[in-house]
């Protein structure tokens, strides 16, 4: 399968201030998003998932590795970024902050249309449209119907769900092929959440859009994602289809994450000790080993790999499409 957006050996380093060591926000990630695929990038805050998303958007410069769109490597020159931004769009977490309070809905949605001269793009293709047509089209694609009714509203006059739809319409207006959504529903009310997720599914169906959704919420991934990549401390530690990863998790970290999803009548929760470590002090060996339940329980020792877990680093998990995990326990590194 040809990939739409891919990252290879991607690294992003933040310079340490006040003499602190550099922080490796993203520390070697291989990731592929196929056309019309919904991929969930899952992890706790501080695991580097937002940094990875920003790098894929060209907002952050990688310190190593590369991002490629449709086979062409992302370079940070002005002209390339401009055309890249018609293809890869962003949905932010907080729709209230993502809209300029002094711009009406029409102006917010028209912004991308004006920047990329979309009216001209359509006319050259023989499609005689006005700017208002394109704004209306984007708004109704995002589920704001009838669109004209909302043209002159200001963000503060809309509900949270409507604001998120306006943000989505603004992204759709430049006719991208992939949306990167950073926690798209975490600041919305429970009842609105399903509506926005259903919209993302519908956009994939109607427009063939790919979606990379960054989230800490496994239920969201179960709701809409085809595949899941679990991140821990700057690396992808497990990747596979949603069913594979959530029904038969291979990595002890994924298992722990899954066990604490608040649900009734579930398996005994594996609550990890401590917090995600500091990305400027990545542990030696397997980066998860200081918190690993398999190491604590002696499972690793029984498999005879305990020493390796503590000292030998693991290779970057390749984006092959199989279900695999960056873990030495038997059967984890290989596809099932």
């Amino acid at each position: 399968m040809s990939q739409l957006l891919s990252a290879r050996q991607l690294q992003v380093t933040f310079q340490g201030r006040h003499g602190r060591p550099d922080a490796k926000g993203v520390d070697g990630v291989d990731l592929d998003v196929a056309p019309a695929e919904i991929l969930a990038l899952v992890g706790e805050s501080g695991c580097g998932k937002t940094t990875l998303a920003r790098t894929l958007l060209g907002l952050e410069r990688p310190s190593g590795g590369a991002v490629a769109y449709d086979g062409a490597e992302l370079t940070h020159n002005r002209r390339f970024l401009r055309s890249y931004r018609r293809k890869v769009q962003l949905i932010l977490q907080d729709p209230t902050g993502a809209l300029n309070p002094r711009q009406s809905v029409y102006e917010s949605v028209a912004e991308g249309i004006r920047i990329h001269k979309m009216v001209g793009v359509h006319r050259r293709a023989g499609d005689r449209v006005t700017e208002a047509d394109l704004v209306a089209r984007a708004l109704s694609q995002a589920g704001m119907r009838p669109p004209q009714r909302f043209f002159l509203n200001y963000p503060h006059e809309l509900s949270g769900g409507q604001r998120q739809r306006v943000v989505i319409a603004g992204a759709l207006a430049v006719e991208p092929s992939i949306l990167i959504a950073d926690e798209p529903v975490s600041s919305l009310d429970a009842s609105i959440r399903g509506e926005i997720l259903a919209l993302l599914l519908k956009l994939r169906e109607d427009l063939g859009l790919s979606v990379l959704v960054v989230t800490h919420d496994l239920g969201l991934a179960w709701n809409i994602a085809d595949r899941i990549a679990v991140m821990y401390l700057g690396r992808v530690v497990e990747v596979g289809t949603t069913e594979e990863v959530l029904a038969a998790p291979k990595h002890p970290y994924t298992r722990a994450l899954l066990s604490v999803v608040p649900e009734i009548a579930q398996t005994e929760p594996i609550v990890l000790v401590g917090e995600t470590p500091d990305p400027s002090r990545v542990p030696r060996g397997c980066r998860f080993h200081p918190r690993c339940p398999a190491l604590l329980s002696g499972e690793a020792a029984a498999a005879g790999i305990e020493g390796d877990c503590r000292t030998k680093p693991l290779p970057v998990l390749a984006a092959t499409g199989d279900h695999r995990a960056a873990c030495r326990l038997p059967g984890r590194l290989t596809p099932s």
Binding site: R78, Q89, L90, S104, Y106, E111, I115
Partner: protein, 296 residues
């Protein structure tokens, strides 16, 4: 397109709301009334009094006559009516004040936005420049510039303008920095917006209310500065302003001669106009600056 018309009406509504809010500030309304009176007097000066009255050679009265029915505010050392001088002086003082403010606001806003927006050496250099202008004492710099450029109405306004922008620039810079961190700026960048687009479409509209409120405060300062420079003898000698009136009253010993009618009216006018601008400015600032509004 009717959307444009409705958008225009919404803008008018928002101006209406601001006006309604403003009317609740009594001191601001008082200042506004005083300013309107002064502005009308300055604009209608030729209709109110004859400009012949400004000529030293055609003066009709005796030098330093005290107020009477023919000279309501007495006469100056040439025998000209102080009232005539005062009315025409209002034109010069207000004009110089507004011109200087225009320069100051444009410079302050541009440099403020640019130094806040560009993080690299451009921003750092502009910030240093702002700080540098801020720490130079105003009066010596203005005097040096006025001497170099000569004392015409235009140069006085220019000198005051280029020396009074750093305060505005700092204010606008800090506003810009806070706006840059907002998510909608990131959204604009991802949509492919260039620097110019970001600055004109997102930052400028969001700092404009602050600029607007700051303008009224700057006008007050500029009028005071014009008076100071003129009083020190660096004004335009061919024009009458409140500052030059104070200057000649002082040099002709109005104080020792007891000619209070020559000294007090321009002084009171300066104080009244500066105070009014300040009152209006403070009210606008309270309306536009959300932080001040919360405190109320």
């Amino acid at each position: 397109m009717s959307a444009r018309q409705v958008a225009w009406r919404r803008r008018k509504d928002s101006a209406g709301r601001t006006w309604k809010e403003f009317r609740r500030h009594r001191t601001g309304v008082l200042g506004m009334v005083v300013l309107v009176v002064f502005a009308l007097v300055a604009i209608l000066a030729p209709l109110l009094v004859d400009s012949e009255g400004l000529s030293r050679t055609k003066a009709t009265g005796l030098p330093l006559e005290s107020p009477s029915s023919s000279y309501w505010l007495g006469t100056d050392e040439y025998g000209r009516s102080v009232l005539t001088l005062l009315i025409y002086g209002a034109r010069v003082s207000l004009l110089v004040g507004l011109f200087a403010t225009l320069i100051s606001m444009v410079l302050g806003t541009l440099i403020g936005i640019a130094s806040g927006f560009w993080r690299g050496w451009v921003g750092a250099a502009l910030f240093r420049l702002t700080e540098w202008f801020l720490v130079i004492p105003f009066l010596p710099l203005a005097l040096v510039l006025a001497t170099l450029l000569g004392g015409s109405l235009f140069t006085i306004g220019f000198v005051i303008g280029v020396t009074s922008w750093p305060g505005t620039a700092l204010l606008i810079r800090s506003q810009t920095l806070s706006i840059i961190g907002r998510p909608y700026m990131e959204r604009a960048r991802v949509l492919g917006a260039g620097d110019w687009h970001q600055m004109t479409r997102h930052i400028l509209p969001n700092v404009m209310p602050m600029v607007f409120a700051n303008t009224t405060l700057t006008v007050a300062g500029a009028i005071l500065s014009e008076t100071t420079l003129s009083f020190l003898g660096f004004g335009d000698p061919t024009r009458v302003s409140w500052g030059t009136m104070l200057d000649s009253a002082f040099t002709n010993g109005a104080l020792t001669l007891g000619a209070w009618w020559f000294l007090f009216p321009p002084g009171i006018c300066v104080v009244a106009v500066v105070l009014s601008f300040t009152l209006v400015g403070q009210s606008l600032e309270e309306i536009f600056n959300p932080r001040l509004r919360q405190r109320r």
